[in-house]
Symmetry: D2
């Protein structure tokens, strides 16, 4: 079952074209990932305080359609294991009124310690266990 | 010769990890593209007023290293033709103190008219002329 | 009865101090005002398209306490008439877990037409009718 | 002599009204204050790491005119002592092409330690020395 977070476009997120600015989708996707982590008991802000930083190393985003002021939508989050130290989130932005996919994204990340060295805490590791 | 725009990290662009938030790189890249267009006589805001919208349809970003508060850097912009109606920008974020590449990006766009139909004005088209 | 909009702090809204950045409260307040207007049948984005711009001319904000990652809160909106062409919103940011007031604000605005001249549409005017 | 920082409006800072969004002025003002501090040898990010947080407790902003895409402007910063533990910045946003004042602001702040108690380090204190 896919994890979803509900959103509504806020006017300040729109730019002079009158549509949601491209950079704002990154905000939406990040918030949805952090909500996913939170639902699994992982507190991003607390990890940061403990000097364990989850970082994005690559993102691929396909912009299909533009969100407009007031649009209601959800962001879907699906975790995927990439390698021992890398994990990914398949994400989708879906407009609610017609279930239209507005954006598809693949966000690949890893986790580093205070020295910037890869370090995957167990609580993160287990979220991306490959299916048996 | 590659087009470059100078930047300096502003503290409000950094997040609770103390580094520039991932979404902000998209702001940097967008601003650098618009400065590139402006230097070629293309006014993004004026185009938007005339209902011609340059839109991003895909972005690929490789985050190599994190920018920190106060870091000085430049964003390089290199235009590339993808197809008759699509164009791309190869972009790089480079820290100045040591010429380290912090981020590589490929941003693919197109241009649409008021009805959302592909429409590439001549002034845009000629920026992406394929080499003979 | 006061109009309220519910929010939850998103991690990307926090800065390197680990608290919600001061500028983000402006975003919260604006969104709450636009939701208030929307509930009264006034569409801010549509007005802008029709070249009628609601603009802020003065803001006073008292920061009492800082919102933290994940905090749930609401923004209260109370309309007040200032003069024939000016109106105000008394606003409050209240943390839900303990009803603590985090910020008090007074935002004064007016409405201008395409030429920048004061112009208050009837639908706005009636929202700020002075009590008889 | 007043401290000034140069800026140029970036398109992504503009909202659906085609003008710089109100919240963005707060970003401009903050960046100018931090540059002022930096010029005086005070590193805001380093202070935050040391758990000394400079915080805004009140802001008053008068919006005179709207900045537009591409506008060049500067932000002026003038420090003022308010009381033993409070200090203020008088700030102005001035458009360069015609020296027009776009915004006047008064930002009052204080400095707190890890426990949220007022604590003004000497290096901050001396910036706001009252004239003899």
């Amino acid at each position: 079952m896919t994890f979803k977070v509900d959103f509504k476009v806020r006017d300040y997120e729109c730019d002079l074209q009158g549509i949601v600015n491209n950079s704002v989708y990154f905000n939406y996707l990040e918030h949805a990932r952090h909500e996913f982590l939170s639902a699994q008991g992982v507190d991003f802000a607390k990890l940061a305080k403990d000097k364990i930083n989850l970082v994005v190393i690559r993102s691929e985003m396909d912009y299909k359609h533009s969100l407009l002021p007031g649009d209601e939508f959800y962001v879907a989050v699906e975790p995927q294991r990439v390698s021992r130290l890398k994990f990914a989130f398949k994400q989708m932005v879906v407009r609610k009124c017609d279930d239209k996919v507005m954006l598809n994204a693949l966000v690949i990340g890893t986790s580093v310690n205070e020295k910037g060295r890869p370090f995957l805490p167990a609580q993160i590791d287990q979220l991306f266990k490959p299916a048996p």
